[in-house]
């Protein structure tokens, strides 16, 4: 079963079999507004927690999305190259940003569950 975690930077991670699918939350996409471009990472890129993984660009501004944990990119959501607005319309579904192989599953313990995240943005 997949488990979903959240970060205080408004990202979600769905973890299954040592692979995390990462995106931004609905709250985050609402704050950013209409996205027009997503700069995706290359497969194989190794990230340390806090590194910029993706840059999402709205009409007005560019914002970094950080790696929430250490790991290696296994896939980027290439659909976003032609339709970045998926991040707005389906932030927690088809608008996922990248998948990464976790380097240390122990880091997940520092993240929030959904109830804690909801309290965080309330």
């Amino acid at each position: 079963m997949a488990t979903t975690y959240f970060t205080s930077d408004h990202e979600w991670l769905r973890v299954e079999g040592g692979i995390a699918t990462v995106g931004i939350t609905d709250y985050a996409q609402e704050q950013l507004g209409d996205l027009v471009f997503v700069e995706l990472p290359e497969t194989g890129k190794k990230l340390t927690k806090g590194d910029t993984a993706v840059v999402v660009e709205s009409v007005k501004a560019a914002s970094d999305v950080y790696a929430p944990v250490d790991g290696e990119i296994t896939e980027a959501n290439s659909t976003l190259s032609s339709d970045p607005s998926l991040v707005n319309s389906a932030a927690t579904g088809a608008g996922w940003l990248w998948k990464m192989k976790l380097a240390d599953e122990g880091q997940l313990a520092g993240l929030m569950d959904e109830a804690a995240y909801k309290a965080h943005i309330a």
Partner: protein, 366 residues
Amino acid sequence: MTGDDSKHLPLEDIHAAAGARFGAFAGWSMPLTYPAGVMKEHLHTREHAGLFDISHMKLFEVSGPGALPLLNLACPLDAGALGISQSKLTFLLNEAGGILDDLIVTRLGDDRFIVVANAGNAIADEKHLRALAADFDVKVEPLDRVFLAIQGPEAWAALSRAGIETGSLLFMRGAEPRKNWFMSRSGYTGEDGFEIGLPEADARDLVAKLREDERVLWIGLAARDSLRLEAGLCLHGQDLTPETDPAAAALMWAIPRDVRASGTFIGADALRAAVERGPAQKRVGLKPEGRQPVRAGAALFDADGNPAGHVTSGGFGPSAGHPVAMGYVAAALAKPGTRIFADVRGARIPVDISSLPFTPHRYRKG
């Protein structure tokens, strides 16, 4: 959110009730977007009518026998050549010919003018004008008004339904339709539209009437910026600064020929010398290849990798359907179609010099 020291719009309660998201701009807490979002707000303005609260901008009344000589000194302008009701884009220049602010000046009487100044410069403009006014018999008076813009092809019809007929007013004309109202057919979107300065109570009535009209939508500062950028219009503080003169800014068209030749405005000698030399850099439109926006501050390079200038405004053009930008490039490169490159986070993005505007102006000129 904005700090405690930011100024608040008189109609802030209306914006909050409309669901505005606020942010800081030029010392003001301003609606950035409404629930429709920047993309829909932008497109709605081009298709129907967008309502903007631009009360952060300042209206000044300049009146008295010294109004003409004051304006002709402060601006590269022949104020006496303006017909009654005629509006003109002009500038406050410093001694070096640099642009302290860009203004719209409208002549309302033989010696009575309305000057519209940018929010961020309003206090400095007033100080500058008052200092110069000391030598003339003239009054420079900031007006306490709510300032609204209604822009888009259905702006005139929405105003008509709200009881305000605009028929005889053409682009870059201004009038006083009611007591303490100033209305001009102008704007900052490239569309037909109006800017109306009026007392707060009247503004609340007008907004209520306009909001009953489904053609009218509140538009925030984010879409105001993407609309003006597509229209190739400059934002002072970004595209125009005290370090840029009208020749570099490609705005010499705003200065009448005889004023260029023999005007005695502040900065005249420096500007004539700059024109004579030819500007080292020129303001141009920039069209990035692909979908990735190139934003203000990005460095530009020529095909050989030599520094070629920088971007002063950039984002995505919802109507254009691609990223749009403007900036300053070496004069030799300032030809539409020239391919240069922008540095975006270490990558070189191909950018073509483009003519402006990116979307055609649709002003009502006759």
